[in-house]
């Protein structure tokens, strides 16, 4: 854990409840993430994982409870969070190449008017370099494989020099080998960033993360070693094959 950062939680979720119309998605959720942690958020589909991320990002407002990110309201803090969505929320046939997509992560930095500056382009190149995707810089966004697109989205999240990285199912659309690469990269990034990652694959992510939080409408927190058959059964209703941990 970096010692020069304050030790108050970078993300603090207090007694948060949220529902889409009549559908209650989250209730009494409490979560505090300390600087430098790598937290895996797991739970069944429709358990509210993506909704909780959107609340932390300030894209949604909780009906009850309070969320603070970097001691600010989520909407104010959003620029210091790097976010990698589960599904790219853009059309794949949009006429744009990778470098310009990554440069978009620099919005909100520097002057408001005009085109990207040289510094933005350099930052985009560096970010692509960091995720080992420099060779894709001039490629149209529509001509990337799932794994390549994931790297580009990660670069777009990193280019704004965030303090926190939030990823929603980053490995849902890629194969096992690319998945290992992504997690190795995240472990590397965790040296300087706090990471919150959503996954449905509880067994796989527990090898990488420092702590797992389990969400199914409400939340229970554990260290990785505390995940046992009971927890999994409570969370998924007993349909999950038990996986032994090597920790």
């Amino acid at each position: 854990m970096p010692s020069n950062q304050s030790l108050s939680p970078v993300i603090r979720v207090e007694d948060v409840g949220f529902s889409y119309g009549d559908a209650l998605v989250l209730e009494h959720v409490d979560l505090a993430i300390e600087p430098g942690e790598f937290v895996g958020l797991v739970g069944p589909n429709a358990g509210g994982k993506s909704t909780l991320l959107k609340l932390i990002l300030g894209l949604l407002e909780p009906q009850t409870g309070r969320i603070r990110v970097l001691d600010q309201a989520p909407r104010q803090a959003a620029r210091r969070i790097g976010y990698v969505p589960q599904f790219p929320s853009f059309p794949r046939d949009f006429p744009i190449h990778v470098e310009d997509v990554v440069a978009m992560g620099r919005l909100g930095i520097g002057p408001r008017f005009g085109w990207y500056r040289a510094a933005d382009r350099q930052a985009a190149r560096r970010a692509l370099d960091e995720v080992a995707a420099s060779d894709l810089a001039r490629r149209p966004i529509g001509k990337l494989s799932g794994g390549q697109l994931q790297r580009v989205l990660l670069a777009r999240a990193l280019v704004g020099e965030p303090r926190i990285l939030i990823l929603d199912e980053p490995t849902a659309n890629i194969d096992q080998r690319a998945e290992d690469d992504v997690f190795d990269l995240l472990a590397e990034l965790n040296r300087r960033l706090t990471i919150l990652l959503v996954s449905h694959d509880i067994a796989f992510i527990s090898e990488y993360v420092s702590r797992v939080a389990c969400l199914n409408r409400t939340l229970t927190c554990h260290g990785t070693t505390a995940i046992d058959g009971d927890t999994i059964q409570r969370l998924y209703g007993g349909h999950v094959r038990q996986v032994a941990h090597r920790h």
Partner: protein, 282 residues
């Protein structure tokens, strides 16, 4: 064609018409590109048609229809934008309703304006040969507004058209830029109504950009190519219609539509050809 070129030297109204077409194509290239990549052609259609309400009202009260069109277009852009932002569930029905209401208001006003009934056709289908010279300056001014606004906020417009959610996270005021973009669409619609009338506006707004989109891989180049294509279609349409004395607007649209269909087939073929070559080379 040569007949047109000779006449072009002789008649000032033809020169005005040619210039009007070229000025309109700037709007259709720059803003049409956003309409195509953001897939808001239906909204643009709604804005274009409800403009008739403003034109009709301006005529009835003895004002300049051009000014009436501009006010109505901006109003309906803001209204349609607000509907889209607040009413996500029945957005298309709502836009369809505004589309029809605007037209109905326009037709009623025109019906009650003595002596102007024949102008309905030129509103609906445009008449580039009747564009007054002073309106060229107005068109050039609107072009300038379009280009300056897009140039100043290019990154923001790009982000809002590409990925609204991400733009919001980066602190871009998405609602503001979304509504601003629709206002620019409204301005462009008014520019194009001069040339092809409000029914055919949507074709000139989308087809050149869509053709460009078949071949280019960046938004800036797409705008440039679409502007050039727009200029080509309006000029060539004007020239082709002159000899046989056809209405210019529909001639331009048929030209643009024909090229679009051919281009869609061609780019489809090219993609298949490339895929085949890749497989056989492997």
């Amino acid at each position: 064609m040569s007949e047109f070129l000779t006449a072009l030297g002789d008649y000032a109204f033809l020169q005005t018409a040619l210039l009007a077409g070229l000025l309109a194509s700037v709007g259709c290239g720059v803003i049409g590109t956003f309409v195509v990549v953001k897939r808001i052609a239906f909204m643009a259609g709604g804005i274009a048609h409800s403009v008739l309400g403003g034109m009709g009202a301006a005529l009835y009260f003895g004002l300049d229809p051009f000014a009436g069109a501009l006010v109505a277009a901006i109003l309906s852009a803001l209204l349609i934008g607000a509907v889209r932002l607040a009413w996500k569930t029945q957005e298309d029905t709502m836009i369809g309703a505004l589309w029809a209401i605007g037209m109905a208001i326009g037709v009623l006003f025109i019906a009650k304006t003595p002596g102007y009934a024949s102008d309905l056709m030129s509103f609906l289908f445009g008449n580039i040969l009747l564009v007054p010279t002073r309106e060229l300056w107005l068109m050039a001014g609107l072009d300038l507004v379009l280009i300056l606004t897009v140039a100043l906020f290019y990154r923001q417009f790009l982000a809002v058209t590409f990925d609204e959610e991400f733009a919001r996270l980066r602190g871009v005021p998405v609602t503001f830029f979304y509504l601003l973009l629709l206002c620019l669409v409204a301005v462009t619609v008014v520019l194009l109504i001069q040339v092809v009338g409000l029914i055919l506006v949507i074709a000139l707004l989308t087809l050149p950009a869509a053709i460009a989109g078949h071949y280019v891989r960046s938004l800036g180049v797409m705008m440039l190519v679409a502007t050039l294509l727009g200029g080509l279609f309006t000029s060539l349409g004007l020239a082709l219609s002159f000899g046989p004395d056809l209405p210019a607007g529909p001639t331009m649209i048929l030209l643009a539509g024909g090229v679009y269909l051919a281009s869609a087939l061609l780019s489809h073929r090219l993609a298949r050809h490339r895929a085949l070559r890749r497989v056989t080379a492997a």
